[in-house]
Each structure stands twice: as C-alpha cells, then as structure tokens.
Symmetry: C2
Subunit: 322 residues, 2 copies
C-alpha cells in the first residue's frame, strides 16, 4: 500500500496548516500536540480517494478530508477522558499531559474547527455535506454512549453490539467517502452506494479487530494479545461465547473474569471460545459485512479500473491479500 | 417587559420540540432535563427580534434562535463541569445529577444539535450564517479558556479582562442578533451595526454584573451580595482596585482574601473599593460600551419606531428606566 503513503503525508502536512492560533496557548497547544501524534489517516484518505474515484481532484476535497480527521481527533480527545486513558499511540493523552478541563475545552474547539473546514466547499454543496456531517456526528456520540452503557449491562445482544460499532466507528467511514462523492458532485445513487461500502467495511473491520485481539499472530500483532480478555471487555468474541455457552461454561467464564494469572486467563478463555466455535461464528459475521460492502461498491457507477485503489485499501484494512 | 414574555414562552415551547430521540437515554434525558431548567432566553429572543426588526417574521428565524439557545446551553453544561458547579438555577447540574462522562458527551451532542438547527435555513443564506456561527463558537471557547487562565494569573489587565468577557459572553449576543438579520436578508452594513450593538451591550451587561455583586440593593438582588468577593474572583471591580491601590492598600487586599469573617470581608472590601473610587471607574467603562452599543444601533437603517422593542430590551438588561 505504498501508493497510499503519499495521501498520509499530504494529510499530515495539511493538518499542520489548518490555522490554529497561538493563543490562548492552553487551548491550542494541546491540539497541535494531539494532531501531530499521527495515525494512519484512513478516514481523510477515504474522502480524497472517493473524490478521485468520481473524477474530481483530491485537492478539491482536502478541506473536507481534514474536517473528517479533525472531527475524529475531537472524539478521541473526549473519549480518552471518559476512558481515563493515559496514553494514545504511546503518547500522553491531553487530559493526562495537561488536565481534564483543557481536554474538554480543546476538544470542543476542535469540533468547531471541523465544521469550519467542512464549510470550505462550493456553497451549493454545503447543505448536503452539512446535513450528512451533522447526522454522522450525532450518531458517533450515540455510539459512544451505547458503548459506555454496555459496560454496565450484562444482557447486550450481538445485534445491539453491531449497532453500537456501526454508530461509534463505521458511519464516519461512510460519511468520509460520501463527502468525497458530494464534493465530486456524483449521483445520489453513487453516494448512497459508497456510503454503504464504507459503513460495512467499518463494521467488518471492527469485528476483525475483536477477533485479532485473541487470535492474532503475536509476532505480527502490534499490541498485547488478549488485551480485551484481560480487561474483561464485552467484545464480539465474548458476546458470541456468552450466547452459546452452557450453564457450566457460563460459570467458567465468570470465574475467568477474576483470574489473576493473566497468561492462564487468556489461554483458558481461548480454549473455551474454541470449544464454542466463537472464532468462526464471528468470522462469518465479519464476512457478511465485507460482502455487503463489496456488493455496495460494485453498484458504484464508475469504471472498474478506477476502483482498484479503494478495493486495495479495503483489503489492506481487512489484512487480506488481493 | 411583559410583551417579551410571549417570546420566552414561544422559545420554551419550541425547545421542547427540537426532536431529541428517546435513546440512548443517558445521552438525551440529561438534555431534556437541562433545557427545561429554563432561563430568560435573552439570546434567542435577540434573534427573533432582529429578524422582525428587518421586516422578516420571528417564525422564519426560529430554528436559528433555537440554535443560539441550544449552543448556549452546551457551553453551560461543559462550563459547569470545569467550574465543578453543583447547581445551575437551583437545579442540579448534569455532571452532578448523572456524572462527568454523561455531561461531556451530552454536551457534545447538544453542540451538534445546534448546528443541525442552524442548517434549517434558506440554503443561499447558509454559508454566511455558518461562517458567523463557527467564528463565534470558537471565540466563546477562547473566552472560556482565558477566564480559566486568569484564575492562575496575578497580572491580568483591565483590557484583557474586557477582551475575555467580550469573547466568553458578548460575541454570542452579537451573533444572535446578526443571525436574525441574515435570515431577514438585511444589508451587510446593518448586519455589522446590529452585531456591534449586541456585542457592546453584552460587555456593558457583564461589567454591570460585576458592579452589582458588591453594590446591588440586597432586597432586589437575586443572590448573595458580595459573592464574587467571598470567592476571591478577579472581577472588573477587583482589577480596578488592584490597578489603583497603594502598596499599603495592596497589602490590605491580600489580607482580605484570606479573611474568614465573611461579613467583615465584604464590608471591608467595599470600604477599600470606595476609597479607590472603583465603582464609578467601572460605571464609566460600562457607560462607554453602552454608548457604543447605542451609537451602533442608531446606524441600523430602519424606522426608529421599529427599534423600540430592542432598545427596551437593552434598557431592561441594563436595569434602566427608559
């Protein structure tokens, strides 16, 4: 995916030029710091690639691509407060490096900044882009609230869980793509199709993320295998196991939650999940959404040759060989 | 100001109909609760009156009036977290009644809701309204940050203080009026003039607020006289005293900050401020901004007879007889 590096670099450079004032320092220094922590910049890349797919230029969609990335960073800043996360990409989070109030307020101003970037668009396209972005932003907040609610519930269904990840993370991928399509003035049908492509790739990606936590190759996986298990997170794997477990297995799951020997905890959980066929049930669900994504993308009315970059990006996200 | 009651009632009713979903409950219940706590609804009233001033209807500007009020409530929810305020209008604040995370996230979604309301406008007017609102929203955050910064500084100048209140509270009054003027498709000159009217009335109002803390008639004042003094707040009175004080008086001011007898603290502070002529210096500054406001309003190119309601509202805000 080396050809995508140029987009990441472009976005990194442009994020440094979105015009954050120097003062008040405590409002803007944290944002400069946070935006340069980096990331794969997948979301803004989707906007640029979508704009190009529909025969517009990446440049024309650049403010909207930055809008999506800036909004995403706003959600990270506030989510980090709520999760009390000390680190983000191995760097201190804003509430940790400064304090809670700085993280709240600089997050707020970053969200407004996202809107300001969005507004840098042909004025006839603004109403549509604005409506889509508002709807998406509200859904992302709803997803975050559902995620927090689930921590306190023991009766979360798999459908509810998928609805939560759809709102919390996947709609923003759909929105990123559709905004690129809006800038490129594509048809309503194409816009809907590419939105669905993004949304379902997002869901598939999140399910994969849950699977990889326990089943990734430790040599290739960037983080500790079993992190979700150790943290007793209600992931897709856990909920699937919960649904299929016998009374005895439920008892074992309950005991494992309190297990202090972490290696034993992770290994025993994996063994139990294997007995319950959890991995393949989740992979099936992931495949379903991947297939919907691809079917939606096939409906987009542009030459197949132009679609290769986005198909490649989807495959890259899903850890697949083409 | 009984004729303004109908606007307050209209806004109260319409705020109940902005379409907050029932779920997630923890996201939307706090907002329904907070929006019905009430208030004078001055900001949305300004939008409606401005729209009518320029021969448009109040109804047409209703979504934008609600946008301003909803945005104002978002700032209150997040400010209350930062100030660790337990009460707002004698009702529990959201972070107190629910918790910090609920207050952060429901505040976030309320800000997005403000944008959604803003968007309910003739699409040709959206770019201007959007740009003004974005600029204002950013300034309000900057003002809040300056306010927090000032708490930790001992060298705040009076000009800096006025810039802080301009950003934190006054620009939103200007914006409320100008958005009404945008909806009514008034001229650029009229829009600028009415914005300045709102902005300077806002500054005068805030200075008055500081003066009243210590010099209000206790029988008519809604809250404890001297509250700012007791809390050692750096108000306009305090900064003016600081500027004029001799070395000995500075020493007295410093001692009074730690005074445990609160009646003595307030009375001694008032006596010291009186020696320094603090009240009239501040009143002069307040009058300056009131005069700029009125001069700006005089420039608005509509019949004097139509201006009476807004002039009346300004006089009401400034506790003045007409």
């Amino acid at each position: 995916m080396n050809e995508l590096q140029k987009y990441t670099s472009l976005i990194d450079v442009e994020l440094g030029k979105i015009g954050l004032p120097s003062s008040p320092e405590k409002l803007y220094d944290p944002l400069r710091y946070f935006l340069q922590i980096g990331g794969k910049r997948i979301r803004p890349m989707l906007t640029l690639l979508s704009s190009e797919l529909f025969d517009s230029s990446a440049d024309k969609a650049l403010p909207q691509a930055l809008c999506i990335e800036v909004f995403h960073n706003f959600t990270l800043i506030h989510d980090d407060i709520m999760d009390e996360a000390p680190l983000r990409r191995n760097q201190q989070t804003i509430h940790e490096k400064w304090n809670r109030d700085v993280a709240i307020l600089s997050g707020d101003v970053l969200m407004i900044k996202a809107y300001q970037l969005l507004g840098n668009i042909d004025s006839k396209l603004l109403p549509e882009a604005f409506a889509l972005f508002n709807k998406t932003a509200i859904e992302v907040c709803e997803g975050q609230q559902m995620d927090m609610d689930f921590e306190e519930r023991s009766d979360v269904s798999i459908d509810e869980y998928i609805e939560m990840i759809r709102l919390k993370t996947s709609v923003l991928l759909g929105c990123a793509l559709e905004i690129g399509a809006i800038v490129a003035e594509s048809s309503k049908e194409d816009r809907e199709a590419i939105y669905d492509f993004g949304q379902h790739i997002g869901i598939a990606f999140q399910i994969q993320d849950d699977i990889l936590d326990l089943y990734a190759d430790p040599d290739k996986f960037g983080k500790q295998v079993g992190g979700d298990v150790i943290a007793n997170k209600k992931t897709m794997l856990y909920l699937t196991a919960l649904k299929g477990a016998t009374k005895e297995q439920l008892e074992v799951m309950k005991q494992l939650q309190g297990e202090q020997n972490l290696v034993l905890k992770v290994d025993s959980t994996r063994r139990l999940f294997d007995q319950l066929n959890v991995r393949s049930i989740c992979e099936e669900r992931m495949q379903e959404h991947y297939d919907i994504a691809m079917t939606s993308f096939a409906k987009v009315n542009v030459d197949a040759s132009k679609k290769q970059t986005l198909i490649g990006l989807a495959a890259f996200l899903m850890n697949r060989e083409l």
